[in-house]
Point group: C2
Chain length 123, copies 2
């Protein structure tokens, strides 16, 4: 009963799930236009009513990792003044965004089913 699951559902990897969520949040924040780190954090927080929030000790390592993996590309804003690293989606990141969105949505659907079952607790 362990053949690759026949429904086409995606598998749940507990460790990777949170990481995937974080990366999706970043990719989604960049989907329209480039942004620097702090903007990404504010964008994510604003669009989720404060549910999702990046601590900067979390965000910047994620951005570095994603840049190393080629999902995003950062460029230091030229021109004097406050240094900002502006990130934009790469083609890889754009593909990853849609692929991961599908994958995660399947998992979320599975979780929803699980929750509905869990609600049917006999009093």
């Amino acid at each position: 009963m362990s053949e690759t699951n026949p429904t086409g559902d995606q598998e749940f990897d507990a460790q990777g799930f949170a990481r995937g969520i974080h990366e999706l949040l970043v990719l989604a924040a960049l989907r329209e236009s480039p942004r620097h780190g702090y903007q990404i954090a504010l964008d994510v927080e604003a669009h989720s009513n404060g549910v999702f929030r990046f601590r900067h000790g979390t965000l910047y390592p994620i951005l570095h990792r994603m840049e190393a993996n080629g999902l995003i590309q950062g460029r230091w804003s030229s021109g004097g003044g406050r240094r900002r690293k502006v990130y934009s989606l790469t083609d890889i990141g754009r593909r990853h965004l849609s692929g991961e969105a599908d994958r995660v949505e399947d998992i979320l659907a599975g979780l929803m089913r699980m929750l509905r079952r869990a609600r049917e607790v006999p009093a």
Copy 2:
């Protein structure tokens, strides 16, 4: 903008989320009747079309932790033969199940919103 969020939404804790999911899977599997570890693993796998799967190196530590936290209660099946530790929901576990189900569902709803936004990627 960091006061306890006003919408009543639950906050997302990346680290704790996966753990919470695992615990919910166990609690949900026990909601009807007591089961031992191996049954829980099979139950979870069966009801999720193989999306969710417990490795035993993962499951048993979780069961031990949940028992230590009072969410479930294990009893070694008396009577000769193969030793089995049968777990059942405690009252605490039952309350936790419904509370956590609400909490996680809010987060899932937030993730769904995020995914919908992510899908509107300009071609």
